[in-house]
Structures are given as structure tokens and as C-alpha cells.
């Protein structure tokens, strides 16, 4: 229980993952066998001792409301503090605001009511086992007005367009923010996490709500001259999901036992919505290798280098390789899947053969029967 309000910013590119994000926001994209992406941000907040968490609700909210409900599964259903949903403003005859400043402005009352003094905002499309306590301590000791968290990383070529780069002076102060960096500028990757005092945060929101900034990033850019904006290098593992390639790649990384342990066993638990599932059941003919299997699965066929979400059925003779099968996928006898992503409730008929490429997996839309 630390003196920080957590904000999870779910404003993002609506169609980042194509069909997978057609009917759901990035925040509720299934990941890693039993999770939704937001689980990592939420669990990170709780494991960092932040228990007053506001979630900026995107417009596509059905799956989010269904997933979060009371926040109980994250132990955020409390008498005081806990989870607060911060929906976008609605004004008659006007399109609801699509960026986070409008959304935050509509919910200023949440900040005023909160007892905590500091604000930590993180995005919703990140994967990791987060502990933000050192970053918060660093901010409070540094005397900076705002601290931006960044990771040092060699961006993949497909990353650059979804990357924000920081130019950092020797004293840690941010000199420039590159929203479309070259690969040299992209080295210090700002991934959307920031810390500042609540009063500064709300005054910035009020100021830029009336101003010209289209989003928070632009607003920060405009403030570089006015405020002391410094940085904190986040040292941990960080997966950023912003396109289909990064989604597939981050999932497949989990098949490495070392990564699996780092993400799931090193810090606090990653919590998610709880549903009653029976233990995964392996039949006499099952042949599973280098895979992740969730509760409720029944496996009679062969599975290799794949991620099986809850209640996936693999029939006899079926072969699944390099694939991500979301909840309730059924793969009938002798079907073959290679480098395929099946969204929820997909049924693959007997004998069907579907192949994608490792760098361009085939996506089967939710509910498809083929």
C-alpha cells in the first residue's frame, strides 16, 4: 500500500492486431495461455503495492467490463481504493473523445477523491513481471517533475513505427521525444509509463485538455521546456505488443523455460479472471512437446511449440505446431495447423490443413468453423 494512484492507459491503436482487435481492445487480447494483456499491467500495479488503480476504459469495452468486473480476481475489490473504471466522457451529439487527455479530463474527480499523492501511469499492452517500486523511489529522490520509464533495446525493424524514442542528456533529463524515431533514435524506448505528482498531473490534464496537444505524448513534448522531465531505465523484461508480429513473437518466447519462469515465478503472481477449469487431460495418444497448456484442455493428438488456452480440444491424429490456440478451439481428427493463430471458439474440421509462416502467422477469426 504505497502512496501512489495507478492509472492503466488503454487508449491504443484500435486495429493494432487486425482481426484479433476488431471486436476487442488491445487490453483484452488473450495472451500466454490464460491471460488477457491487461492482466500484466494490473498485476504489476498490485505487486508494486499500488492498490488504488484507475483503468481508462476504451470505447470498445464489452470484453473489458466482462473481464475486470469488480477487480476481485486481482484482489482489488476493496472497501477503500481498489479498482475504478474511468469511462470516456459522453456529450450529447458529440463523438466521445478518442485520446487519453479527454478521457482523463472527464475523470478528474477520481484523482481529487483519491488519498494518494503520486500518479503512476502505464499502458495496457505490455507483458512483464513488473515491480515499479524502485522507479517510484527513484522519481521521488530525483526531484524531477515527471519521470518517464524507458527500456534500452535494439528494436526489431517492425518495432520502429510503433516506438517512441527518447533523447536523454547526461543528467538524465529528456531533451527530445521522437514519436517516429529512426533506428538510432529508437534505442531508448519510452513505453508509455510515467510518474509524477498528482497535482501536476491534474493540472497538466486541465491545461492540455484546453490546448492543442492531440495526445499525452504531444503534451509531454510541449512541456519539455517548462518542466524537469527525467527518465528511469526500467531494467526488467518487457514485451511490447503493438502488431501481429510482436504478439506472435512475445507468445512464442514463453516456450523458453527460462522466460516462462522469469515472467511467472520470479516476482508476484500474474492474476487473471478466474474460471473453474478441470486439469488439462492428456490421453494415451497425446504427444506434447515444448508447449504451454492451460486448464480445461483435452489432448489426444500431437502438439509442438504451441500455446493452448483453456478448453482447447485436440483430437486424435491432429498435429499442431508453432500455433496459438485461444480458448475453446477444437481441432478435429487428423487436422494439421502450422504457425496458426486461432481466435476463440474456432472449430477446425477433420483433416483440414492450415499453414502460416513463422514471420506471418495465419489468423483464424473468432468463431470460425472451417
Amino acid at each position: 500500500m504505497i502512496d501512489v494512484i495507478g492509472i492503466i492507459n488503454l487508449v491504443s491503436n484500435d486495429y493494432a492486431l487486425g482481426e484479433i482487435t476488431q471486436h476487442r481492445p488491445l487490453a483484452t487480447v488473450p495472451f500466454g495461455g490464460r491471460y488477457r494483456l491487461i492482466d500484466f499491467a494490473l498485476s504489476g500495479m498490485i505487486n508494486s503495492g499500488i492498490d488504488n488503480v484507475g483503468v481508462l476504459v476504451p470505447l470498445k469495452q464489452r470484453s473489458l467490463l466482462d473481464h475486470l468486473r469488480s477487480g476481485r480476481d486481482w484482489q482489488l475489490d476493496r472497501k477503500r481504493d481498489g479498482l475504478t473504471l474511468l469511462p470516456p466522457a459522453y456529450e450529447r451529439q458529440k463523438q466521445p473523445s478518442l485520446h487519453e487527455i479527454g478521457n482523463l479530463h472527464a475523470n478528474l474527480a477520481f484523482f481529487q477523491k483519491s488519498r494518494q499523492q503520486w500518479v503512476m501511469m502505464i499502458p495496457g499492452g505490455i507483458v512483464g513481471s513488473f515491480d515499479f517500486k524502485p522507479a517510484i523511489a527513484h522519481h521521488r529522490a530525483s526531484g524531477a517533475d515527471i519521470t518517464l520509464l524507458y527500456s534500452e533495446q535494439e528494436p526489431h525493424e517492425y518495432d520502429c513505427t510503433n516506438h517512441v524514442g527518447l533523447d536523454i542528456a547526461a543528467d538524465g533529463r529528456v531533451q527530445a521525444i521522437y514519436s517516429r524515431p529512426t533506428s538510432a533514435e529508437a534505442r531508448n524506448c519510452f513505453w508509455g509509463a510515467m510518474i509524477c505528482h498528482k497535482d501536476l498531473f491534474t493540472s497538466l490534464i486541465t491545461k492540455h485538455y484546453a490546448g492543442s496537444a492531440e495526445n499525452l505524448l504531444q503534451a509531454l513534448g510541449q512541456e519539455l521546456g517548462n518542466l524537469c522531465i527525467k527518465t528511469y531505465r526500467y531494467p526488467g523484461m518487457l514485451g511490447r505488443i503493438h502488431c501481429l508480429k510482436s504478439y506472435y513473437r512475445q507468445n512464442m518466447l514463453l516456450l523458453n523455460p527460462e522466460t516462462w519462469r522469469q515472467l511467472f515465478l520470479q516476482s508476484g503472481p500474474i492474476r487473471t479472471k478466474v474460471q473453474p477449469e478441470h486439469p488439462a487431460k492428456y490421453a494415451a495418444d497425446a504427444h506434447v512437446a515444448a508447449s504451454i497448456v492451460a486448464g480445461g484442455c483435452i489432448i489426444r493428438g500431437a502438439v509442438d511449440r504451441s500455446i493452448l488456452f483453456s478448453r482447447v480440444f485436440i483430437e486424435q491424429g491432429a498435429r499442431v505446431t508453432g500455433s496459438i490456440l485461444m480458448a475453446n478451439t477444437c481441432v478435429a481428427k487428423n487436422a494439421v495447423l502450422e504457425n496458426v493463430i486461432c481466435d476463440k471458439d474456432v472449430k477446425i474440421s477433420a483433416g483440414r490443413v492450415l499453414c502460416g509462416q513463422p514471420d506471418n502467422p495465419l489468423v483464424i477469426k473468432k468463431g470460425t468453423v472451417m
Binding site: G32, G33, R34, L255, P257, W260, R261, L263, F264, P269, I270, R271, V274, P276, E277, H278, P279, A280, K281, Y282, A283, A284, D285, A286, H287, V288, A289, A290, S291, I292, V293, A294, G295, G296, I298, R300, I307, L308, F309
Partner: protein, 383 residues
Amino acid sequence: MGQQEFIALILAGGQGSRLSHLTKNLAKPAIPFGGRYRIIDFTLSNCYNSQVATIGILTQYQPFELHSHIAASRLYEGANSSGGIFILPPYTTDAGGDWYKGTADAVYRNIEFIQRYNPRYVLILSGDHVYKMDYRTIIAHHKQKKAEATIAVIEVPWAEASRFGVMTADADLCIREFAEKPAQPKSNLASMGIYVFNWPVLKEFLLADAQDLKSDHDFGKNIIPAMLQAGRELYAYPFQGYWMDVGTIESLWQANMDLLGDNALFDLSDPLWPIYSVDPAQPPHLVAGRAATRQSLICEGCQVYGQVEHSVIFPGVYVAPGAMIKNSVVMPNSLIGANAKITGCIIGCGANIANDCEIGADGGEKITVVGEYAHIAAGAKII
């Protein structure tokens, strides 16, 4: 307070001494079972799926984990005059205190609790049986027969009948005779320890039994025979399906094995009758490249590098490369070291089996039990 048609009482105070070290620090109903469950989850899920509104759970022996598990499962939200789950441990009054002396005595000491709900029927259940039953069916049967008490019965092999309370019933299922563990059974209809009583009738017999200094205060030994002798209307309710009293190491092991195979005797995956439990909050398990897993149940948080065959692996178990687990039950957070061989075993929670151990034997009649948090040194052989 409004009347409820029926409430359920679950007897969960027994020690389960035949389960040896597994119940040293644990009430029998709290024993882990079937990967993700504790034994009491089956009775509790039956209650929830049957829409039983009010449940009292009578506890006494080492109840801490049992209480914690029930609270964490949050099967019922709230507990108040309209229902919920109530834990009923022994307590003292201004007249002093007594432990529950038997199953009937435990209910007798909670007459006031039952009176709060003023039910027409009381359903008496056991916390240590594995089965699926819609209790609305037995209540309907009870009403249809206009019975004063109804006892669920199951056909057992004649050879085993003498281990049970055995019923002789006429064609109408009216019970004529009842014998507790008879040497020469006259019937193979065994009592499942599941009773429906008209509450006023049960109360009358509980009050009388409490006065009887020679009574064991037990439903099977005392209450049922007394009712029969008094000429009350007792009926049998024949149950079809899987039922197991997991009172011994062998039956605990067997009931776990009965979950395996393509046509498992007991099916955990029925979406219409979910078995609820406490989520272990662990990630989906990882099966490594060289692992082999067949005819098994494997739970969240496991890391399998070795071979698992015809076994039930609970959450958070680590199976090192080269390890081989067969016909075994491995409880949560155990560690099975490299090249260890585990056959026909029950491995308790948090046990640490070092590399190259060899534990248990195939085809043996005896199940090898490794107690919780036991450490078995590298290379040990226990058969």
C-alpha cells in the same frame, strides 16, 4: 425469518486416521484431490449446482486449512438469513463446552442454527466423498415417497457389502432392515452416508439420542436404527453413478486413478456440473521439448521435463529431466528430481524427491506414501 425448504449440513470434522500422515495437520475433507481440488469441493459443488441455499459445515479436527479453503473458494457470496456457507466448529456456552462426540451429536449441538432457517427437510452430507449428485432429485424422491427419512444407497459388490451400512428394502424402496457392517450381509445396497430427514422428526430423535448415555451419537449406528425401531417411514434412494468414500490410502489413490483414461470412471469436465475450487493463481503449465505426458492430468504451474504416465500432477510440481512418474498422485509444489522413478505413489505437498530416487513399485498392492514436505535424499530407494 422466512422458511427454507431444506438446508444442508456437511459433516467435516473427522480425523481420517486411516489416511496416515496425510491427515496429521489436515482434516480429511481438506486433502488435495484430482489435481485442482480438495475432497470437500465435490460436496460443495454438488450443493451449489443443486441450488442449495444454506450450508452448515461441521468442523472439529485440524480445521485451519479447511476453513481457509472454504473461505477462499467463495462459492457463496455472503452468509446471512437468506443463506450462504456457515462454518460450525464446536463452541462453549454458559453451561460449558463439549467437543462433537459423533456425527449426530455435531448436528444436535447446532439445532439452534437449523432453527434459524426453520427448514422442512435437512440434508446430511459427508465432506469426504467424491461423487456428483443433484440433491434436488433425492429431495423430490423423499417427498414423493412421503418419507420421514431417506437414505441414498448404492449397489456394491456382494463381497464388499460387509464394509458398509447395508439396507434391506422392499420393492417400493421402503427400508425394512439396516445393518452397520454386517458379517453376513442380506443385501448389497450400501448406505452412502447421505440422508434426508424431515426436520421435526430428526430433531425429535436427536434430542432423544443426546439423552442416551450409551449411544455413540452416530447417524448410521444410532439414529437410523432408532428410527427403524420406532417404525418410522424410511426409504432408500438408489444412486447410479460414481461414488467413492476416500477414507483410506488405497481408495484415495484409486479415486485419483479413476479420473484418468479416455473413458474415465469419473469425469471432471462436464460443463453442466462444474466442480468449483480455489484457483491456484499459477500460469498454464509448461511441457518441455523432451517431456512425454500421457494418460494424465496436469495442472497449472507445473514444469514437466521428464515423463508422466497415468498420473495426476497437482499445481506447481516440477518434474526434472529424466524423471519418470507412473500410476502416481503428486500433490502441489512437489519436486521430482532428475532420473527419479516414482511408481504407484502418493507424494504429499511440497515433498522434495532428490535425483535418482526410486520410490514405489508397479503392480504392488500397497501404495507408497511420501508425507508432505518430506525430503528424500538422492539415490534413495523406497519400495
